[in-house]
Amino acid sequence: MVICALSIFGIVVLIAGELTVHSKLAWSTFGLEFFTKTFQDPYTGQPNYWDPVNSHFSALPFIFGTLLSSILALLMAVPLAVGLAVFLTEMCPGVLRGPLAFITELLAAIPSVIYGLWAVFVLVPLLRDYVNPWLIKMFGWSGLFGSDNPTGLGFVAAGVILAIMILPIISSLTREVMTAVPGSQREAVLALGATRWEMISMGVLRNARIGIVGAIILGLGRALGETMAVTMVIGNTPQIMHSLLANGTTMSSVIANEYAEATSNMHRAALTEIGLALFVVTIIVNAFARLPVWMVTRGAPSATH
């Protein structure tokens, strides 16, 4: 039993070890520059990041894409998730609570490829025909919504589908943390004559805020590593544009697209190094996320006052 339990440490060591060994070639050739540098295309003069044929490898556009799509997703998901959690714990009539909780639980279990399938056939046409033209018309002046990509694919599509995917996780954890706040806190605030919203903001959200931050970081961790749905809608072009409607790519997408058909050892090593970076980052993000959720749900939350 101890051995089986220890195998969990073993898996972490194994993954880290294998990925380090197999990315050594990229490590020793590019060093830390791998994550920052830009090549200049000799013919067009445009910046070029990823050219397996000429052995030009830079992880910059993938890091950019991963961060941008995750941040977009969080911006959309967090307010909705917290609103849903508040509704479910504090306002919802008992009849609705069970089914709503069940639906969110179920949605957390839907495979990412199915979200991707839905996004390709429903979300992307919707964005292409209605939402994107509107965004360009209303906010085109800001330069964030360029009109040069008519496909509907790109960062906005990836952000929306990611937001839908991380919503259930953030909201169910937020709900868990909010239910862990003792009822006496609520009663105390209500006894002072507070309205329901004042009770929620002062008595509940204030006490649960560390846990909510943890839930958001956990959602971020999921968004960073999400592969299939994003790969299907982001357009898979290694470029850095300042338009949110442009095609892009992420760390996990490039691995999904190119790893099985990597042309050279260097290509494979570069992809493995991106995977290693993804592994390290998600480990750190998840560790950070677990600590606060753990503190709020295990400890006595009333002790924070």
Binding site: C4, A5, I8, L84, I103, E105, A109, V120, T227, Y259
Partner: protein
């Protein structure tokens, strides 16, 4: 003075109403698209599902008809390998965490690592299986895909097993120990047996989760247009096939993708409902 109080009270009531409205609005905004996904999926999938889907292998590209028999079979093979690796290791680990190592620093560290490992992207697991199995063997294989999924199952099964064991009331353990039963015996034939419905459904949940995993299979199991039962060869899998068909230009392959998605979802709905039923049932209640 009076008026000011009145005004303030009105503002507070207004803010309260506004916040309530926003919470309700966000609930609607969340639930509506999610329900829409679900209904659309069932509608599209049900109209595409037929007997051929389960019995035929895919037709050549561009030709109508055919099914996903090879992918269903392949998913079965992959999941069997994954379960052989993941279930015993996970359950044993969970028993250690809940019974033998409870409260020790080692168990806490393992629990934390398992939680963190649950959040590692599945594609990274696929890369690990690639370096571990595909590189030494020299080619893609069903076995490599099974290993990737198996590794993913271990932390999930481990944590659910632990949770289910912790739901067994303390008095049951104490009763066994009071009769002079050795601790290992009490754990195996009393606690684990009491928690076994929960453990089994926990395994089903982990099973359903890896059944939908695509990313780790792309460069381990690779996919296959034909039926194959050879563990040493590339093999088809349902989620992989959905991925390929979703991006293909043929309408008939889109139809198959929707049907496949419905089959996967049905599996997951059953698993999630079972877990919910078992954990909310009275047998395991009265927990510590």
């Amino acid at each position: 003075m009076r008026n000011e109080h009145k005004l303030r009270a009105q503002i507070r009531t207004l803010v309260d109403g506004g916040a309530t409205g926003l919470a309700i609005l966000s609930t609607i905004l969340v639930v509506a698209p999610l329900v829409a996904i679900f209904i659309y999926l069932v509608y599209k999938g049900a109209s595409s599902l037929n007997l051929d889907f389960f019995t035929q292998i895919p037709k050549p590209e561009g030709e109508d008809g055919g099914g996903m028999a090879n992918a269903i079979e392949g998913s079965g093979v992959l999941l069997a390998i994954a379960s052989i690796i993941g279930v015993p290791m996970g359950i044993a680990g969970g028993i250690f965490l809940a019974e033998f190592g409870r409260g020790t620093k080692l168990a806490n560290a393992i629990r934390f690592t398992a939680d963190v490992l649950n959040g590692v992207p599945s594609i990274v697991m696929g890369m690990a299986a690639y370096s571990l199995v595909v590189v030494p063997m020299g080619h893609f294989s069903a076995f490599a895909g099974g290993v990737a999924l198996g590794i993913m199952m271990i932390p999930t099964v481990c944590r659910t097993t632990e949770e289910m064991l912790l739901m067994v009331p303390h008095s049951v353990r104490e009763a066994a120990l009071a009769l002079g039963v050795p601790n290992w015996r009490s754990v195996l034939s009393i606690t684990v047996r009491t928690a076994s419905p929960g453990i089994i459904t926990g395994c089903m949940l982990a099973f359903a989760r890896v059944a939908g995993e695509t990313a780790p299979l792309i460069f381990t199991a690779l996919g296959n247009s034909y039926s194959s039962a050879n563990l040493n060869q590339p093999i088809a899998a349902l989620p992989l096939q959905i991925y390929v068909y979703a991006l293909s230009p043929y309408d008939d392959q889109h139809r198959l993708a929707w049907a496949g998605a419905l089959v996967l979802i049905a599996l997951i709905v059953i698993a999630v409902s079972l877990v919910r039923y078992v954990t909310s049932r009275g047998v395991l209640k009265g927990a510590s």
